[in-house]
Amino acid sequence: MISENSEVILSVRDLTAEVEGTPILKGLNLEVKAGEIHAIMGPNGSGKSTFSKVLAGHPAYRVTGGTVLFRGQNLLEWEPDERAKSGVFLAFQYPLEIPGVSNLDFLRVAYNSKRQHEGLEELDAFDFDDLVQQKLDVVKMNPAFLSRSVNEGFSGGEKKRNEILQMALLEPKLGILDETDSGLDIDALRIVAGGVNQLSHANNAIVLITHYQRLLDYIVPDYVHVMEAGRIITTGGKELALELESRGYDWVREEEAAEVAR
């Protein structure tokens, strides 16, 4: 939902970043406002996942230039946990398994970290249990998953649903979904997309990073960006995704080359 007067949630200017000395992001620009859903598409290796990890603050990625403002503040100065507590959420492409830590305990610790950050009282186990039961509906998750270790022995679809459950609890201002649709069967995709649609509202923003147009049948973006070699090379509406699906990424590259030539 595009609205001119909405708050700017994320403003990325000329962002460059490298991993182990190899430049990946080469001057990325993006502005995301409250209420908007952005899709970032692009071929493998274009820098999509790197961008999501840079936003979340992964230590292996080094920012070498540019600025990232989150609600007007310098996001790059903050530790990953501070970013999370301030409202940045990254749904992982490959969520990690943490044997020995129950999913419920993990969710409670994460939720209470945010409450504490906001100066609110922590929820005790009982109140938290009530809250989490409501949120389970968002991703149609079996309560039995709460007592299992975090992601341990979960199927691919269950892991992704667990990510969206965490997002439902943490209620971020900016939700970044890194290839959340990859590897999902159609039923799981519907559930995950339905969850994201429920969580999207006028005061937050969603950035979908995806390789496949299929996801956008279920989550309708306001903007579609195409990434190539560490930059966003073209931006359009949802119809751009369809065009990409039928004509492939080469078409965008040629368009861009033509534009440069002109």
Partner: protein
């Protein structure tokens, strides 16, 4: 099993001004032993076999020396530092129950024996109503039973520190559970070492007999009052009759300046089930020899170990599971969490002779290194001559992964808490197996507080 002991006096070490070698030093430890306490003498016969047992062990020790790293069994653990301290039998110390509160188990309110520096402390112990025929007490209370068939009768009794214990011990914790008897409450044996003006030497001893069809839970806790130096040389022997079950927790929490040498020797008759959860947290130098002998068919052994150490601690576990008959099984997980300049050692021996066909043995050694100066030596040692067996083993050494820490941080958990949570998760697989709630919670809290 045989232990090779070098008879060549090793390079001189210093105690005060005097030069001393490894053999001489061992004799100084032997010289600290007390006489057989009068309380264990009840009738001439009992006196004789106990005295014979001690004398024989004494003769063995006289021929031995403190092992050096030249011996395979001690390759990774250097006992040279031991020789720097003159350990002596400590004077009697008054210990109050309130001093021990942190280590008492509510679940074992009426089933607790306390030994202070190896000496039975009846006023600190509490034994309530027990099923008929059950004995939980000090040696004299059990002399009616044929103890001579069990005490010091397990293979490995000739090993140097085991022999030193047998030559020196006075009191002995005895747990005797008769045929088909099941104990509801866990038996808690609390071995307290004191510290004071002298570096105390003690030889705690324990004998557990679970007769056919019986079932019990046993907790041994080794602790130190104060922070000073001491040497605890403990030996525990456990006998399981046919179809008996023993769930054993062994917790070593001695002071960080202590030396802890421990032996757990177990014999299992057919169809019996033995599980041991051994946790080493304390001592500057600790060694646990865990030796299980499957004497009958279809016996099951489950060993779970955790060593969690920091500073300059050394924690060494040497386990042996010796199969002798068909259809035996064993499941072993040993975990080490090592930080600072600490050093963990694990040697897991599994013996499957020709007669032990259809053995199923699984061993896993998992290690978490938390600092660049920390060190781990892990060595699976499978000796298999039977040809129709399933034996799996694996060892991993890892660090806390950046990706794991990042995943937790990305959910709002700060770096320190994230690292602690991951360390806890690593240890939880072992600690979570403890069936006694207060002990499990207590250990969980300790692990949660570990500086990752």
């Amino acid at each position: 099993m045989t232990l090779q002991v070098s008879m060549v006096p090793d390079v001189a070490e210093t105690i005060g001004q005097a030069k001393i070698d490894r053999k001489t030093y061992l004799q100084t430890l032997l010289a600290q032993r007390s006489a057989v306490p009068a309380s264990t003498v009840r009738g001439e016969e009992t006196q004789v076999w106990l005295q014979v047992l001690r004398d024989r062990a004494t003769e063995q020790v006289k021929e031995l020396a403190i092992p050096s790293t030249k011996e395979e069994e001690w390759r990774f653990t250097d006992l040279s530092a031991l020789l720097q301290t003159q350990f002596v039998a400590p004077p009697a110390v008054t210990v109050r129950l309130t001093d021990l509160e942190a280590w008492l188990l509510p679940e074992a309110r009426d089933s607790r024996l306390v030994f202070v520096d190896g000496v039975y402390a009846p006023t600190l112990s509490a034994i309530g109503h027990l099923p008929a025929g059950v004995i939980v007490g000090n040696l004299p209370q059990a002399l009616e039973q044929p103890l001579q068939n069990y005490l010091s009768k397990l293979p490995g009794a000739e090993e140097v520190f085991t022999a030193l214990n047998t030559a020196s011990f006075a009191d002995t914790a005895i747990v005797w559970v008769p045929h088909n008897t099941s104990l509801e409450a866990p038996i808690h044996l609390l071995f307290v070492s004191t510290t004071g003006d002298v570096a105390a030497l003690s030889h705690p001893r324990c004998l557990v007999i679970a007769e056919a069809g019986s079932c019990l839970a046993l907790v041994e806790t080794f602790v130190t009052l104060g922070e000073g130096e001491h040497l605890t040389n403990a030996v525990t022997e456990v006998w399981l009759g046919e179809n008996a079950q023993v769930n054993h927790v062994r917790l070593q929490r001695n002071s960080l300046t202590a030396v802890h040498l421990g032996k757990t020797a177990v014999s299992q008759a057919r169809d019996s089930r033995y599980t041991c959860i051994a946790v080493s947290l304390g001592a500057k130098l600790s060694r646990h020899n865990l030796e299980v002998f499957q004497a009958g068919e279809q016996t099951e052994t489950t060993l779970n170990g955790l060593a969690m150490i920091g500073a300059e601690q050394v924690a060494d576990t040497h386990s042996t599971i010796a199969f002798t008959k068909p259809y035996g099984s064993s499941y072993q997980t040993h975990k080490c969490i090592v930080s600072d300049r600490a050093h963990a050692v694990f040697n897991g021996k599994i013996l499957v002779p020709k007669a032990a066909q259809l053995t199923n043995a699984a061993q896993v050694s998992r290690n978490l290194l938390l600092s660049p100066k920390a060190r781990i030596d892990t060595k699976p040692q499978l000796e298999i001559t039977a040809d129709n067996v399933k034996c799996a083993h694996g060892a991993t050494v890892s660090q806390l992964e950046d990706d794991e820490v990042f995943y937790l941080q990305s959910r709002g958990i700060n770096q320190e808490s994230a690292r602690k949570l991951l360390v806890y998760a690593f240890a939880a697989e072992v600690i979570g197996q403890i069936a006694i709630p207060s002990l499990r919670e207590n250990l969980s809290a300790i692990v949660r507080g570990y500086q990752a």
